[in-house]
Amino acid sequence: MIETVQDLQDMARGAVLLGTGGGGDPYVGELFVSEQIKRGKLPKVVSPESLDDDAFVLSIAGIGAPTVIVEQLVSEKTLLRLLARAEAFYGRRVDALISAEIGGANSVFPLALSAISGVPVVDADGIGRAVPQLEMTTFSIYGIKATPCLLMDDVGNVVVVDAVNDRTAEDLCRSVVTAMGSMAFSAIYPMSGRQVRECAVLGSLTLSQGIGRAIRVGRDRADGDPFASLLAYLRQQDGRVARILFDGKVTDVLHETRDGWHFGLVTLQDLRDDKDQFTIEIRNEFIVARHNGEPATMVPDLISVLDRESAEPLTGEMLTYGQRVKVLGFAADPMLRRPESLEVLGPRLFGIDSDFIPIEDLAAKIEAADMVSAH
């Protein structure tokens, strides 16, 4: 599945789109894997169906501040040592690795370890997008505990966290990682092959790579519309709705940090009509998009901002005044829209005073309103 640097670049591009503004830039991990691919060491990807029921599967995730990752990068030795320590700790050989979060940087770290260790990565993840907290993954929601987990830094410190619940695990891990210099790798969410099939979002690597490939192929075609190619691909995914919510330029970006979270508000304007406004609220990820005040897409459905010409997906931190962009709305994986999921990652959990309304219902409302105003 990932045999060339281009395959990997496609996957990373898709991971930024699925990161829905957050999740961290996969660039550093992507370079790690590219270097391995150039040396002929390919990451191996296996399907969830191929796992034995009692196979031992583990997540490998980077936890930390983006500012630190871009300075300290990723160590081969640390990843290999973490795998060895995890096998000793859990008392089992790891049969497969899994991404906790396909959106952003943590899509590539399991691939990095796979390339250097030979342990395969399952084509699945714990959320199908990016989320700010551990307890919001489908692993946590559907009954896999994040802990006991191992946290390891490059110097060799190892901390075991065994928390009463995943909400607490989140807080404990962050405190430990801050003491480790704000960057560490974790071996987390020990699970069985059967649990992967029951609790993970399946086919995430395929989806991510397919998104990146659709954008690239669309650009390279003579008629060159990457958006047409991207939308056509997204709409093949279990009938999940995908639509361009807005086309315009960024007129304002507010960023602030509260309690270690990135809050922000992005304002966009139509290129021709400055009355036509669009806003996106950020809480690490893009959480709600509103067109002239009316919600157009909300969490857990995905909101992505893409360069208007190249369809390159952009993270929240990359947005600045004057950029010309298109905003994409994409229905979340059906698993995220079940009631038990919405209880943990619905809009209210992000401080938005609304129940979850799916993108397709919001689109129907907007169309109905347009019909009325047209008369």
């Binding site: 550093v28 370079l31 790690f32 590219s34 270097e35 930390g64 501040a65 983006p66 500012t67 630190v68 871009v70 300075e71 300290q72 990068l73 990723v74 160590s75 081969e76 030795k77 640390t78 990843l79 990095a112 250097i116 490059d154 110097v155 060799g156 962050r174 990682v177 801050t178 210099g181 704000s182 330029k249 960023h255 602030e256 940090t257 309690d259 270690g260 979270w261 990135h262 290129l271 021709r272 690490n284 010409e309 931190e317 990359m318 600045t320 004057g322 950029q323 010309r324």
Partner: protein, 521 residues
């Protein structure tokens, strides 16, 4: 004519060397000549012409400002590069992403791509996570020197807040390899070790060429008897000394487009406009916002290598005075192939046999250069089709990089500006300022001096206001050190980037302070 100090602005491009003499806001004389293999000869010719035109003494020149694309062209074309040894202080961190990760193969081959990872490095809070491995640094230097390498790029994790890690490593390399030329990553970039390290490596690869070119420029002025201080334009359109340029040539790599946009602003008196610089081979389109070029926000690449330099957001298209014009079925194609610097020999109006965009412009009566009689035979319908192609390509490019639908004035500069004769879609008016053909030399002549910081500041400990004041002061001190007049310095950029995901209270702050040269206040 005004009085006061006279400045000499020069732009040494790939094809042309342009020069201008300025006094205050007045342009006293301009000239355009060809760039020579040893840049000195072209510069001497240009300056002699200017002085003859102005009739003034060379002793009245108080400062010389030079913009040059020599260094960026050399790296992009992979020529005249020195082999580089990259030494990164970082272990045990980062071994999975060594120096040169992500480099194109030809760039890697051109600079040899030898790297060493050694122990040491800092956490984000400035504390060491590992001791500096001095023996490993010395061993790396010895090993590189054995293969004849004398250009070194040193990097260290969190060097922007712990530059001492790199200076200590540099002292060891210098003691081991006496003729080493060393670039520190903290001198050429901010947070983000890969981009910063790449910039250091590119810089080190240019160190031989920089010694030669800057030495040659200095020699040119010594030969001319001009004793005024010489400054070189850097990427943001501000000046650095020849000593700094010789040591850090990478700081000059996008000065060309910046100078032409700044020059266009000065000559037109506008602060916000679209600028098209039409040269021999390409037209470079950029935006002027608040008197400075609009810069790109995404990471930039130089010759296929990612760096964290901010560059003017410029779109180049293959239309220029030397563009080949080829008949097609019922129309004409213009560019992207060009006769380039051979225009004065090959264009029809100059006695050659190649039909170029310049010939079309002359046939259409847009410019009185060369012999119009030599293109009188061109069919008007064909000329019309070629003109439509030229204007259409420029209009499309403008539309592609515009960020607003509002029409803005278009300033035309560069030697090829005669190609445009009519209204351009998306432009409210077309302005052709006097002396626009040497706008880049004017941009060099009017340049200011800047100071920058890009560091993590402790907002939690100091409070936001005090931390920002500290950052502003650091940038002002940097500007004064570079030669700016302290009282005239303005803060032109201040960007705060909070360290997300952690409760650390540290914020990355980027500040740029700009002011006029103390000598000209």
């Amino acid at each position: 004519m005004g009085s006061g100090p006279i400045r000499l602005g020069i732009d040494v491009g790939g094809t042309n060397t342009d020069a201008v003499l300025m006094q205050g806001r007045d342009v006293l004389a301009t000239t355009k000549t060809f760039t020579t293999a040893d840049v000195k000869d072209g510069v001497i010719a240009a300056v002699r012409t200017l002085l003859a035109m102005h009739g003034g003494a060379r002793s009245t020149i108080e400062a010389v400002m030079i913009g040059t694309t020599q260094f960026v062209n050399a790296f992009v074309q992979r020529r005249d590069l020195s082999p580089v040894a990259a030494i990164r202080v970082g272990l045990p961190a980062g071994d999975g992403v060594p120096p040169f990760s992500g480099w194109p193969d030809d760039a890697l081959a051109a600079v040899d791509g030898r790297h060493y990872l050694v122990g040491g490095g800092s956490f984000y809070n400035g504390k060491d996570y590992a001791p500096l491995d001095e023996d490993a640094i010395a061993a790396a230097a010895v090993d590189a020197a054995k293969s004849g390498i004398t250009a070194f790029a040193l990097s260290a994790s969190f060097a922007p807040i712990r530059p001492d890690l790199e200076t200590r490593a540099a002292a060891i390399v210098a003691a081991t390899v006496p003729d080493a030329r060393i670039t520190l990553s903290s001198e050429v970039g901010g947070i983000g070790i890969l981009d910063r390290e790449n910039a250091a490596i590119i810089n080190a690869s240019l160190s031989d060429l920089a010694t030669r070119v800057v030495g040659s420029l200095r020699q040119a002025f010594a030969d001319l008897g001009v004793t005024a201080p010489i400054y070189i334009s850097q990427n943001d359109g501000t000046l650095i000394s020849t000593e700094v340029a010789q040591r850090l040539p990478i700081l000059t790599c996008s000065a060309g487009p910046t100078n032409s946009i700044r020059g266009a602003a000065f000559l037109s008196g506008l602060d916000d406009a679209i600028v098209a610089d039409i040269g021999g081979t390409t037209t470079d389109i950029g935006f002027l916002r608040g008197g400075f070029p609009r810069e790109t926000t995404a990471p930039n690449t130089i010759g296929g290598v990612r760096t964290n330099f901010r560059m003017p957001d410029v779109l180049s298209i293959g239309v220029g005075g030397g563009s080949l014009v080829v008949p097609t079925e019922g129309g004409a194609d213009v560019g992207p192939r060009s006769v380039g610097y051979r225009l004065p020999q090959e264009a029809r109006v100059f006695g050659g046999d190649t039909l170029t965009a310049t010939d079309i412009a002359v046939r259409a009566g847009q410019g009185g250069i060369g012999e119009a009689a030599r293109v009188a035979d061109l069919d008007p319908a064909f000329v019309e089709a070629a003109l439509a192609s030229i204007h259409g390509q420029i209009a499309d490019a403008i539309d592609q990089i515009k960020v607003s639908a509002t029409a803005q004035p278009l300033i035309l500069v560069g030697g090829g500006n005669i190609l445009v004769s009519r209204a351009i879609k998306g432009a409210s008016e077309v302005i052709r300022p006097q002396h626009g053909e040497v706008a880049n030399a004017v941009g060099a002549a009017i340049a200011l001096v800047s100071g920058r910081v890009d560091k993590l500041y402790d907002f939690a400990g100091l409070g936001r206001e005090a931390a920002l004041d500290q950052a502003r002061d650091d940038a002002i001190v940097a500007a004064v050190t570079a030669g700016a007049s302290r009282d005239e310095i303005e803060i032109v950029d201040l960007i705060e980037l909070p360290m997300t995901h952690m409760k650390s209270g540290l914020v990355q702050v980027k500040v740029r302070a700009v002011g006029p040269l103390a000598a000209f206040v």
